[in-house]
Symmetry: C2
Subunit: 330 residues, 2 copies
């Protein structure tokens, strides 16, 4: 009998899904970034559960305040990717009994601030004793069904774009976990990216309302894996014409003997949106994103053949390996 | 600086609440059995988070199927107490990596069955690696605000009633944890009560719709503590005229040298509703409960002076100790 360590997270999820009865009241289907329930009148109640576990999700150097805030923000990021406004957060806490009063207060402030940054409130939850710290947050929001951006809507010819740079959290995590010495100028930005992640809510909402975006996912498991997810759900492939990594981040990676491509494609813990825009509508989408302070970065296009490729300098296409963060396997 | 072991769960919750900003969109307020969000038109989205942790919530002898089912049912029980219909369940799983394929499938079936028993569906969740098994379920439902039964509505003179017997889980837990040898006839019933708890959903919904119930809580932390919760929220006291324990359970407790009173008041892990009925409306409420197969058991009344008392055989009143299950303290 195979164990989780052998199965990996993605196969484990398939096993669990096989035992669940489905209903047409639920939309989008299991496997998208969020779950939803049809309320009637074209409205969806949006529900999201994402658990933070100290031993796998909290790097050294992250405070309890930051961990609790992150536990909220990762949930909100999934709503952002779908164009759903978060309203309320619940937090189920699994707490080791040696935590102090001050620890609790720090965590509660992190939960509150994570929600308030995005206009939501923490309105409930529960506390439990647990051998390790677990912060299981749940987000509730509302969305018009017609505005929800699924993973499955990309079509060949759509423009592939991201809401920001990649690679920075890869360096930040290397600095926190392996003690890698980053350049002073970059170190602060890289640590900030890891310790205080931001959900792309405003741009997610604005783009969803515009109707210009055909598919979207948040990039928490890395850019490459986000593309795999969009590709599988939409049954399209992607050709990356460029990597969304900034020159100073790429140079820093090289200086440290690391691959900029690896940093950009497989970093993870980024909360940028990876999305597709209807052909010929990129300028409009960029202008909407700019109106809420975000520079959309076009990086390629959707193609008919399933798979992910990166355009090399000589013009040839190189397959991008389909891997990303996966629990039980790391 | 005090640790959680010194603070106890209830003080920990007060510390967390002190850091959370509140909003008038949320109802009922923090501290009731569920949270809710005003959707407009008199409708509330009902949200509930209740985490099951293996080391504290899963007694020996409980299978993974039963643990997963229980993790769903405890959430539904809270909705039942408020008169809210559960629609959807999300499950965040923290899984040790030595769990097998078969374990996963058992758990998924438990989640599914726990939801389907009450008309709800498991529509999402996530999986994570964790040092111990954590099943954090999240229930979503809908309720008319005017029909939600809060903890705070009991008034002096209201009749106090419960939806079933107490004391059985006390014996069942003693059998599972301490190996206590129960009589063959009772053993099966007691283990069933612990391993396959039922949420009182149908009767909770029917009574909430009737408008006859002024306050309600589910009794997961024991009958005595449920009364403390109703008492504090409603600012009333309670006089218990009798204990809702069946003669065979009381006799079994005595045979084993245990106190029937202790078994009835402090067992916990029961999911009966403890509620108050408007004066003079008990017969009506009983008839509504009977129509969905439940025998309402009147056990006392609400009084003006805050506190909990039990009527002794000589007619005098004995204070009931305000204690119940509390994390970090056990």
């Amino acid at each position: 009998m195979r164990t989780l360590a052998e199965l990996g997270e993605r196969e484990a999820i398939e096993i669990i899904k096989s035992a669940l009865e489905s209903t047409s009241e639920a939309y989008p289907p299991l496997g998208d970034d969020v779950s939803g329930w049809r309320l009637g009148g074209g409205l969806l109640a949006i529900l999201k559960a994402d658990m933070l576990v100290a031993s796998t999700d909290v790097p050294p150097g992250m405070s309890l305040y930051q961990a609790a805030r992150k536990a909220v923000v990762t949930n909100i990021s999934d709503l952002a990717a779908k164009g759903a406004r978060p309203l309320a957060i619940l937090a189920s806490l699994g707490l080791p009994r040696d935590l102090t009063e001050q620890d609790l207060l720090e965590m509660a402030r992190g939960l509150n601030d994570g929600a308030r940054e995005y206009g939501a409130y923490v309105i409930g939850g529960d506390t439990n004793e647990c051998q390790e710290l677990v912060i299981a947050c749940y987000a509730f929001g509302i969305c018009r069904e017609g505005e929800l951006v699924p993973r499955s809507g990309a079509r060949p010819g759509d423009v592939l774009a991201v809401t920001g740079e990649f690679g920075l959290t890869y360096l930040g995590l290397k600095a926190l976990i392996d003690g890698l010495a980053l350049s002073p100028g970059l170190r602060e930005r890289a640590l900030e990216a890891v310790l205080m992640p931001k959900a792309r809510l405003r741009v997610g909402l604005a783009l969803a309302r515009s109707g210009l975006v055909t598919a979207s996912v948040d990039s928490s498991d890395g850019l490459a894996w986000s593309l795999v997810e969009l590709s599988r759900a939409s049954k399209v492939g992607f050709v990356l014409e460029e990597l969304p990594i900034r020159p100073d981040v790429a140079e820093e990676a090289m200086r440290l003997g690391l691959s900029p491509e690896e940093a950009c494609l497989y970093g993870g813990e980024e909360y940028e949106l990876v999305l597709t825009v209807r052909p010929g509508r990129l300028e409009e989408a960029m202008s909407i994103a700019r109106s809420v302070g975000v520079e959309l970065w076009p990086i390629g296009r959707a193609v008919k053949e399933q798979g992910i490729w990166l355009r090399k300098e000589d013009g040839s296409l190189k397959p991008v390996e389909a891997r990303g963060w996966e629990h039980f396997r790391q």
